[in-house]
Symmetry: C2
Subunit: 198 residues, 2 copies
């Protein structure tokens, strides 16, 4: 990286720390930034710092938001008795994009992973259990279909069942449009186990 | 994009303006930035603004650098009589990485393109011609092997030849390790025309 002057090299190094940005992309990005109008660059860095300054956890559901209570928790039209538990804010957005879910969320910010040393105390579980002391009818566990997501789902189920609140898990199976030929065996077996009557 | 709060949406929008960063990557980047330590985020935005503030054209070769004269033009070990003309600073870096070129450079910051309305006056040609009034033995034209790059090479050749300075063009042909079967016909013909005696 000695092919550029110090400040350009420093910029490329900082950019290449970002996820999904290799050395080549970082170089392309750096020169793009250097060629951008000053005002546009300042708007970009300003947006980063402003988001960083204002974004926090929602007091109720722990999603990342720039107000004390996120827009979903604030909305009077959402069903506060139905809580969907997700691993992060992007998973929440994925369900919001469907436009069909009318309950609220709880964002764990992670999943239990003994391998990575992430235990129940490291995710927003305590905050979820506190919410369950209110008027909640159902907890829909929508953690990922990975080892960590499944472990978290099992843990949540054991923790919540004694309270009498209904705990459900989103279905696991063949994605819509998926070709059976290309689906892994574990998913195929899950789809078989989870079959429903037509 | 209404699935996130205002400041997060603003951040994602700014990031998705960058080249090669689509909506999905912008979302991933935004949440990565929000989860980064404050100090790291400030170092990143600082590097952008600092590079933007200090980087300018080298007084001699027009490459992007943070000093008045770039490190290559400053170096006493480089042969100032041999000038390689490239389209941009990244192309300069590509040749520097070979570690075998000992001359200096001239960065045009573009190439002549009648289709895009980019004429000789829009690139750093005047600056090159001024340098040729000094003690220059050879100009190596290393513009890209595209229509614009070739047009620029032809133009340069016509402009420089009357001065008596030697003008050369980097070879065009089959890339090392390239499989003839997958090389386009124009390149194959170029390689044939440019054949050398063994």
């Amino acid at each position: 990286m000695d092919y550029y002057s110090t400040k350009i090299t420093a910029l490329i190094e900082e950019l290449s720390r970002l996820p999904g940005i290799g050395a080549k992309s970082a170089g392309r990005l750096a020169f793009h930034l250097l060629n951008m109008p000053q005002a546009d660059v300042e708007r970009l860095t300003g947006a980063v710092l402003e988001a960083k300054r204002t974004v926090r956890y929602c007091r109720q559901c722990c999603t990342l938001t720039d107000s004390e209570l996120c827009p979903i928790c604030q909305s009077p039209s959402r069903d506060q008795a139905q809580i969907m538990v997700v691993e992060n804010t992007r998973d929440l957005a994925a369900y919001e994009k469907t436009g069909k879910y009318n309950g609220v969320y709880h964002v764990l910010h992670g999943a239990i992973s003994p391998a990575l040393g992430i235990g129940p105390a490291d995710i927003k579980l305590k905050e979820l259990m506190q919410r369950l002391q209110g008027d909640v009818e159902e907890v829909i566990v929508a953690t990922n279909s990975s080892l960590e997501g499944e472990t978290t789902a099992m843990y949540l189920s054991k923790l919540i069942k004694p309270t009498g609140i209904k705990v459900t898990r989103i279905a696991s199976g063949v994605p819509v449009g998926g070709d059976l030929e290309y689906i892994d065996e574990v998913t195929l077996l899950r789809a078989l186990e989870g079959r429903t009557q037509l």
